[in-house]
Amino acid sequence: MLRLTHLQQLEAESIHIMREVVAETERPVMLYSIGKDSAVMLHLAMKAFYPSKLPFPLLHVDTTWKFREMIAFRDKIVAQYGLNLLVHINQDGVAQGIGPFSHGSATHTQIMKTDALKQALDKYSFDAAFGGARRDEEKSRAKERIFSFRSTQHRWDPKHQRPELWQLYNARKNKGESIRVFPLSNWTELDIWQYIYLEKIPIVPLYFAAERPVVRRDGTLIMIDDDRMKLAPGEVAMRRKIRFRTLGCYPLTGAVESEADTLSAIIQEMLLATSSERQGRVIDQDAAASMEQKKREGYF
């Protein structure tokens, strides 16, 4: 009876990681991206510190291009659980009118996401930030530590990572340096879905299939989420039954056509899927080492 399943072991490990951070750092924060991984991370955090309230705030770096349903869901969850949420927008970027349509995905992501995150961490002097990244997502993540050290310039140096043994995490750093902590490092996409199913964790409705307005652009189905999206000559707005496997800025997130409108249908579809979830992210489709480069520069 006391023998644990793989999900119970993953849960216990994640909770242990979160408690270490709260015990050993001065100003932790949880990066909340509103997606399914963030939902699981938040759920685990509430378990870790129960019956206390979360001993740290959530931070949402808002690029101003998130799906409207994501923002509505975020505000609902914050109200429902009485969470302390900080929202940061790169106002310099807003003033310059930065956006994915006008400036392309790389510039938009750099300014509205990477730079914005660094601004927010500096502004509040956070010395530890939880992120929901998993090692199965992408090759450079597979080598990153659970407690991942960042220089005062938020840089990651893959060649000088601290050895991480047993369940002993080294959270020490000098003033101005910080750590990114990945409590979901050892979870896979399938684990995340199974856990959401098992624990009945609320997620953004965009993960479920519904009829939504889309346009096909460069072979990818992009949802027309607001009137900032202009159709190019020859493009036709369509209504399709679609859902999303991953959520980000709506112009950079590809939808899949799907009938899966329940959790078990999503899991079933996932098990039969023939492409990985990150394929839906436009920013990953540069060179093979693009994620590593972004991470060295301070991307989460």
């Binding site: 006391l2 023998r3 644990l4 399943t5 793989h6 119970q8 072991q9 216990a12 490990e13 242990h16 408690r19 270490e20 709260v22 015990a23 509430m46 378990k47 870790a48 129960y50 019956p51 206390s52 309230k53 090692r135 199965d136 090759k139 450079s140 597979a142 080598k143 893959p158 060649k159 990572q161 601290r162 050895p163 043994l165 047993w166 369940q167 002993l168 080294n170 020490r172 750093k173 000098n174 490092s185 050892n186 896979t188 399938l190 684990d191 199974q194 199913y197 098992l198 078990s264 899991i267 079933q268 098990l271 039969l272 899927a273 023939t274 394929q279 093979a288 080492a289 590593e292 480069q293």
Partner: protein
């Protein structure tokens, strides 16, 4: 069959139910670049259908581009991660891979076999239940095979799969397989690796990876995947005595005080008697609290929050232990240390030690020997360099709860952290406590430092003069002492050269000896401060870490670092003792400034520059600063009380 994907019409609810009963197996793969390790892992991912079409397409494109396997898929490309590594064609660190079958989820620690092997392999093995040791069938048991097996056994893994790989290149020969297996067993059993399973493999061709191969009809054991799915996972942590290192005290309000942590061994029920260590206080478990409701029982591997029936003092770093089978408590241990930093381990240098949830200050008091990881010979040494493993005695600044590493990885395994860079520099395994520490108790003394200082009417402290040889430390310290003496202060002067003629005449000038030199002088200076004296210490003391060690012996206000600053050119031009000339001629080794570094103080309490000041002026500046700091004059002026 092991495929994880159900048929489209499978009952998804039934499937999910089955999935949730899966267990987790963590293992490590050991082998060098040429043994086909990446190919094996890539093959396991591929065969368990964990790859998506876009990943397969990328793999096909990569395989063609690299051309390593002719027209075939090169599975190794799947797992060779970072850009720098792909350029070099090797993996350089520890990476974690995931795959699952219907019965188990697997986490693979993938570690390289080249020069950083010790550090990386120990890291990967520390969380593993099992090790796969790869052997190239053409080459048999090699030095590196012995090294890998030693490291695996050191970290406490008992189960080993000997993967005799590349069997396709030796004609699937049973004779070769059996000969390698016999040779390996003889060696491994001496290391305490008790459960060895040998599997003939071709990771490249897929033989005996997921299914028994027709090309090895003589082999009647399981295919690798089948073995990994079925092997019993160590469950004896549950049977061991209860241990919960307290991570965090949960106090949402005055009515609730819970102690949160991960149970490292054993199990606990509400009502069980416990003892909190190191205080030794006893209580009972009132509740096992989780957000999903209280538990009647919890066991090893679970993160829980306990409340106790008594209001006793418990904080982070304590261990809640079974009342009748508790952890030991000690401040000195024999350990195995695995060194993981470029900067060598030096006996006497203080490091932070993290064990469980407790952090203490540790120094290595004695290095017994280091182990040659290839031959297992013991070699005499004082220091440990990167990737060296040694048996060392360590002593801590406090008594801590512990278990032998062989009994409990969580309360017997520790890391060492550099106090200045904060890097993790070593890992250690507790063997046992050294008994002598238990019999030497601190004596509580009636006449203390304050009483002695009051009698002398002064404020005792250490003035620690540091700087290059020839900077003028001793000259200035001497003048300062005369001036203090003149105003009736009780002083003492410890000079580097003089102390090396007496107390420290057994020490040389290696880094290890320099550390010990400073440690002893620091302790002597501390005793002199206890006696109420103003102590001048004039030592080159080139390393920040040791100056910090000396500083830490005393309360903050009682240690003043005086940096006697001058350029190397000027000090060398002075060369009062003719030492620089000798060093330049190579007659003296390890001479600070020439072939041994001087680490400049970052924030000295007092700084004098003898390039621009005379010794007399420097001494006056120091006296003036002592006045400002209230060490002399003011409240503590001569004839106090008036």
């Amino acid at each position: 069959m092991t495929a994880v994907k159900p048929s489209p019409d499978a009952d998804i609810a039934q499937y999910l139910e089955a999935q949730q009963r899966k267990s987790l197996l963590r293992f490590i793969t050991c082998g060098s670049v040429d043994d086909g390790k990446s190919t094996l892992i890539g093959r396991l991912l591929y065969e368990s259908k964990m790859l998506f079409e876009d990943q397969l397409a990328a793999l096909e494109a990569d395989s063609k581009k690299q051309g390593t396997q002719g027209g075939d898929l090169d599975f190794a490309l799947l797992v060779d991660g970072l850009a720098a590594e792909r350029e070099q064609g090797i993996t350089i660190d520890v990476a974690y891979r995931f795959f699952a079958t219907d019965r188990r989820k697997f986490i693979v620690a993938d570690t390289p076999g080249h020069e950083q092997y010790t550090r990386n392999m120990v890291t990967g093995a520390s969380t593993a239940d099992l090790a796969i040791i790869l052997i190239d069938a053409r080459r048999g048991v090699l030095t590196q095979t012995r090294r890998h097996s030693y490291l695996v056994s050191l970290i406490g893994i008992k189960r080993v799969v000997l993967a005799v790989n590349k069997l396709d290149l030796v004609g699937y020969s049973q004779e070769i397989h059996d000969r390698i297996t016999a040779e390996y067993r003889e060696f491994a059993e001496r290391l305490g690796l008790t459960e060895i399973v040998s599997i003939p493999l071709s990771a490249l061709k897929g033989d005996n990876v997921t299914e028994r191969s027709e090309r090895t009809p003589w082999y009647d054991g399981p295919a690798l995947m089948q073995y990994l799915e079925e092997v019993a996972i160590e469950a004896d942590t549950l049977a061991r005595p209860f241990r919960l290192p307290v991570q965090w005290v949960n106090r949402p309000n005055l009515d609730f005080r819970g102690f949160a942590g991960l149970i490292s061994s054993g199990s606990i029920r509400a009502g069980d008697r416990i003892r909190v260590l190191p205080s030794g206080q006893k209580s009972r478990v009132a509740r096992i609290v989780t957000q999903d409701g209280d538990l009647a029982e919890a066991g090893a591997g679970q993160s829980v929050t306990l409340t106790l029936t008594d209001e006793i003092d418990v904080s982070r770093g304590d261990v809640i232990s079974a009342a009748d089978d508790r952890s030991g408590i000690a401040d000195q241990f024999e350990t195995t240390l695995i060194w993981m930093a470029e900067e060598p381990m030096l006996p006497g240098r203080p490091y932070l030690l993290k064990i469980g949830t407790r952090t203490a200050i540790a120094t290595v008091s004695h290095t017994k020997y280091k182990v040659n990881v290839n031959t297992l010979e013991h070699v005499a040494t004082k220091a440990l360099a990167l990737n060296e493993i040694g048996v060392c005695n360590i002593s801590l600044d406090q008594s801590i709860p512990f278990d032998a590493y062989a009994d409990n990885r969580a309360t017997g395994g520790f890391i060492l952290i550099d106090r200045i860079t904060n890097d993790t520099v070593g890992a250690g395994l507790v063997h046992f406590a050294l008994r002598r520490s238990q019999n030497v108790h601190w004596q509580a003394l009636d006449i203390n430092k304050a009483a002695r200082a009051e009698l002398k009417g002064q404020k005792p402290c250490v003035l620690w003069f540091t700087g290059l040889s020839g900077a003028g430390k001793s000259t200035i310290a001497n003048i300062v002492e005369k001036k203090l003496f003149a105003i009736g202060r009780h002083t003492a002067l410890l000079d580097g050269d003089n102390v090396r003629h007496g107390l420290n005449r057994d020490l040389g000038f290696t880094d290890a000896d320099r550390v010990e030199n400073i440690r002893r002088v620091g302790e002597v200076a501390k005793l002199m401060v206890e006696a109420g004296l103003v102590v001048m210490v004039s030592f080159i003391s080139p390393f920040r870490a040791e100056r910090r060690m000396a500083r830490d012996l005393l309360p903050k206000a009682e240690f003043l670092e005086v940096f006697v600053d001058t350029s190397l050119e000027i000090a060398e031009a002075r060369d009062v003792k003719g030492l620089y000339k000798k060093a330049r001629r190579g007659e003296i080794q390890h001479f600070t400034g020439i072939d041994s570094p001087y680490e400049v103080p970052e924030a000295p309490d007092i700084r004098v520059n003898t390039s621009t000041m005379s010794a007399e002026e420097a001494a006056d500046a120091i006296i003036a600063r002592l006045g400002e700091l209230g060490i002399i004059g003011g409240d503590f002026d001569w004839g106090g009380g008036v």
